[in-house]
Amino acid sequence: MPPLRNQATEIETLYRKHGSALLLFAIAIAGERSRAQDAVHQVFLKMIESGMLARAADAKAYLFASVRNALLNDAKGRQRHVQLENIPLEDAAIWFSPPDRDYAAELSLRRALAAIPEDQRAVTILHIWGELTFAQIAEVLDISSNTAASRYRYALARLRQAMITKEGFCGTF
């Protein structure tokens, strides 16, 4: 198999493996599923065309950073930044497939994520669903590892508080 074909296959494998977390991360930044999906596709197609993945030391971190950059560039072009807390989440498409089809809990989690500051939301998604270490998150968001860890602790406390008080999830985890 030629090297380019090999690389395309590798990239498609990465898409299958990390696509869901990348899409979630993109939705958390863009606020819209369609824009998020476009950004993720754009990153992967560009990588296949250019073969840039071969030069990345950490492919997973590189993917998340690329999606974030694509969305920030898109927002610059449109000259508008979506504030997630201003979006009516009840009408928006769901972000997660919830355990036991508990869609009330899914909405509660989306609301809680939308309510925390964007930088904390990004760290939380990258760590829990992206399964990135704080060192990798630091690389993606261009912050220190300590800052990433600190933001995560704050975010987790706020999420737990929101989900316990609003929906009474105390006994479920």
Binding site: L45, W95, F173
Partner: protein, 137 residues
């Protein structure tokens, strides 16, 4: 070892599975489409250059009328001078004319020419027949 509250909450959050993205567009198809678009653009540009070069070398006449002296290319050859414009002659002209306009021109030219031609006995010109007819409107 018991899990801390944070760890238990993390485990709970991980039960929420992010939705799968839409499948990646067919890379080969996307690449092929892009390549064909580029090739199409180059082909169109080359064709325009060729057309421009041909027009520069052989400019078209400015109006729709043929240039003076070039009339014979579209004009119907009139019938032999000895032949007057009969219905049959007019049919022949129409049959051989390259266009309707050329046919009408040919018929008209022949008609005017035929005024000076003496017809043999028993033959009449088409114009003479038509002028004798009484048309009821």
């Amino acid at each position: 070892m018991a899990l801390s509250e944070d760890e238990r909450f993390e485990q709970y959050l991980k039960k929420f599975q992010p939705l799968a993205p839409e499948p990646l567009p067919d890379v080969e198809m996307a690449r092929g489409t892009r390549r064909s678009l580029v090739l199409g653009a180059w082909a169109a540009a080359a064709a325009m250059v060729v057309v421009a070069a041909v027009l520069l070398l052989h400019p078209l006449p400015k109006s729709g009328y043929p240039p003076h002296g070039a009339e014979s290319t579209t004009r119907v050859e009139p019938l032999a001078n000895s032949q007057a414009l009969t219905i049959g002659a007019a049919n022949t002209l129409l049959a051989h004319a390259p266009s309707a306009k050329a046919a009408v021109d040919g018929v008209a030219a022949q008609a005017f020419q035929s005024h000076s031609i003496s017809l043999s006995e028993g033959r009449q010109s088409a114009l003479a027949v038509l002028s004798k007819e009484k048309t009821k409107l």
